[in-house]
Symmetry: C2
Subunit: 171 residues, 2 copies
DNA sequence: TTGAATGCAAAGGATTTGCAGAGGC
DNA sequence: GCCTCTGCAAATCCTTTGCATTCAA
């Protein structure tokens, strides 16, 4: 699904990383911040795949302490906040932790969340923008963003659960 | 808005508390759990108003330590989990903390969230159920619930911001 | 050179947990 | 009386922060 949505924008992950990198450089420049090796490392890893991730998952993908390319935990957290601030990533809360996803150049979408395996499935529905706009207008509310998560059980988990139940039934 | 939605079900807060209490007693009984004074105190306070709240706000509404009716922080957290489990409350994450709202006997609704004053405004839109059902079907996903939050700036905050801006403009 | 960024260690805030005593049933 | 519940203190988990050192510009 991530791949599908990405195609719709016509950019490969590598192109995205380059474009995101340019945007981030502008962001840094405009604020007198520095283009450090750590920030570049993190940007590369973050844009190397379209998966949703949390801070720990990102850290796991980084070289371990002592290795070339290592980035400390506080720096990871600081950078994630910067990426969000720069409009590269979008952040949301799930089960008490922060989850990040690509934002820059990525079309608006929402999520199905499987409570069994914690997987996030993206979907797009144009009616959402419509509803949001209309509800906001009715309440004289200035809408800036929305977050819709449909929670349930994904197809693979439903199937595996059924199998388990059948086994129990057979005893 | 909470009052409006409540009217649609035809129950006053007092009636709600009683009904919720009955449901909770059933829940406790069926699990061999006990109907303690603390749980009763908490249920009363939780259903004394329809406001959204977090653990700290609930604790603030309780008698302080030493007073009649005091409930300790761990017990509050344990009870909140039980209320959610029993279907009395619904929980969601906002700005890194858990927020609770009445669930039992309360109609499905979604929220506008003001990022300036943190207020939550409820709204109902029948199209949401439709979209959810349809998207879930398309993805062979078994939907159980959804959560939609539209973030932006509420009317009062927009007005007060405008006023402030005007003042600055006049300097 | 010089101020921003890093890594370390430690703090912070929300929530949970182990356990001994209290209290429903 | 038995077994759950409570309150206390402490632990846990995620995230942020203070500070001395390092490094980009």
């Amino acid at each position: 699904m991530a791949a599908e949505l990405n195609k719709s924008v016509g950019l490969t992950p590598i192109e995205m990383a380059r474009t995101a990198g340019q945007r981030f450089e502008d962001y840094l420049q405009s604020r007198g911040m520095r283009n450090t090796e750590q920030r570049r490392n993190l940007l590369d890893v973050v844009f190397s795949s379209h998966e949703h991730f949390d801070a720990d998952q990102l850290i796991e993908k980084l070289p371990s302490k002592g290795s070339e390319g290592y980035v400390s935990r506080p720096t990871v957290y600081r950078a994630l906040n910067e990426f969000v601030d720069a409009g590269l990533l979008r952040k949301f809360e799930l089960e008490g932790r922060s989850v990040y996803e690509h934002d820059y150049g990525y079309p608006q979408h929402d999520h199905l969340y499987c409570s069994k395996c914690s997987s996030l499935i993206e979907f797009q529905d144009d009616r959402m923008a419509e509803i949001r706009k209309q509800v906001a207008a009715e309440h004289h509310f200035q809408d800036r963003s929305h977050r819709l998560i449909i929670t349930g059980v994904c197809e693979p988990c439903r199937k595996s659960r059924r199998r388990k139940r059948r086994r129990v039934d057979l005893i």
